[in-house]
Amino acid sequence: MIDGLCSLRRALDAGHLSAVEATTACLRSIEATDERLGAWLAVDAEGALAQAANVDRRRAAGDALGPLAGVPLGVKDIFLTRGLTTTCASRILEGFVPPYDATVIGRLRAADAVLLGKHNMDEFAMGSSSESSGFHPVRNPWDLDRIPGGSSGGSAVAVAAGHCAGALGTDTGGSVRQPAALCGVVGLKPTYGRLSRFGVIAFASSLDQPGPLARTVRDAAALFEVCAGLDPFDATSADVPVPTGLADLPAGADLRGLRLGVPAECFGEGLQPGVASAMRAALDVLRDLGAELVDIELPHTRFAVAAYYLIATAEASSNLARYDGVRFGRRAGAADDLHDLYGATRGAGFGLEVKRRIMLGTFALSAGYYDAYYQKASQVRTLISRDFDRAFEAVDAIVTPTSPTTAFRLGERVADPLQMYLADIFTIACNLAGLPGMSIPCGFDELNLPVGLQLLGRAFDEATVCRVGAAYEDATDWTARRPSLAEASP
């Protein structure tokens, strides 16, 4: 079984196993458990084995290899992959084969990673449970009756179940961090603009950000370092130097001299008791490591969910206008005119959650309501950003729970969209402000379901987030725990 990205990379470099052997182990693991989990929408076994064999050949010949040489990965089905089906878990894109790679996919290929296939997700990344996939839901490996979180649920599950050494997801309102928390893995949402969005199917363009999911902080950092950096194909890509050495942070470091902000707003009512006790214990660990815990206030974050569901849906309603049944994807039967074709194609191709959000976004942007809804939400977004600016004058990073609850049961919130949206209450403000955030396993509740700790940093300061995360991880053993289903696989 594959046990983390950095350890696998060392084993491959040392010749303890070949890329073909590592890839074969992953494919066997997928075969053994994915029928129950539903984490994958496409597995390219033949292509992956060919890439692995190529790495082994070049290694044997003494060629220079990329930093992820032979490491088997999966990516959320939101990334365009040349020659490999990309659906965004939507029926409207069923069978779509992109003619080019997303920039981050190109960077993974250039690093000689092995691409195993595409992960299941909420349709168009709209959801917090991976139940809105147009194909089939994803199940949590810690309890198959529960959701894995979303929208990058397939990616979190594939990493937790040992199907791959790491994954790339996207995070618009928590879609990397929340499933990472609910599945007991690490998820990093970099600063907006860090990783290119070129070739990433757009949901909400001012919020979307690709990010890695992996077993450990250093594993996630290794993927981050390969994928981050300026991309001329993405106009919002940031020209800021990418930190290096985060995958090799020294073991056992302390946190002396660091000030960690603890917002009162995130530790109040509504926190599940198991999450609250895990968080209290995590704060004790951080204090024991030498960090100074500082009470802070983020008074506008309680408005974040409301602002987000206007801004994100407004942007989505515009971005999803491109699915018209003309240039790609599926077209609904015979239509008399173009408007009928659009309406019928979109009505038949989109699932209910996508329709709900297109409707909400269209409403928020429509004449007469724009100022009261979209404009107002965008002003509140400024107030939320200012809260963080003020907080970061006093602290170096902020600690919160990633999710107010552990994984809930499949079907439990499907009929109540508002309750589903509130699952992202602690993750959304970070996207609105464009900041980096990370979820790290920090314990289990009374049902043995994982709890995640969230760390938020200053813009472009992923280094501090990783440093705190790695120190916490070294001082605890939560990331070493695996679901029994993964332990039993080959």
Binding site: L341, K355, M359, P417
Partner: protein
């Protein structure tokens, strides 16, 4: 902020038309109260005085928008390969002009 605790089925149908989104009667019946609930929830934003607050429309902390440096070049056949109905390098659509 406008207070709109009720959204009618007719309004939902009007928004669906704007969005070029065919909805069944069942979907309209389901979405009407759900969208109403969400709109009721977002009305909490009205509590905040945002007079004079500049709106944030993008999250890029630095750089803002730079001109696009490059574009992907696709051959005509490549661009239409994924189209549901293509003909000699063109996208075919229902007749627009009578």
């Amino acid at each position: 902020m406008v207070h709109r605790t009720l959204l009618t089925e007719d309004e939902v149908r009007r928004i669906a038309r704007l969005a070029r989104l065919d909805l069944s009667d069942e979907e309209v019946a389901l979405l009407t109260p759900q969208l109403g609930d969400v709109l009721l929830y977002v009305e909490q934003l009205a509590e905040l005085d945002t007079t004079g607050v500049v709106a944030t429309f993008d999250a890029a902390p630095v750089g803002r928008f730079r001109p696009l440096g490059l574009r992907v070049e696709l051959a005509p056949g490549e661009a239409t390969a994924a189209a549901p109905d293509a003909w000699e390098g063109s996208f075919r659509v229902p007749q627009v002009i009578g």
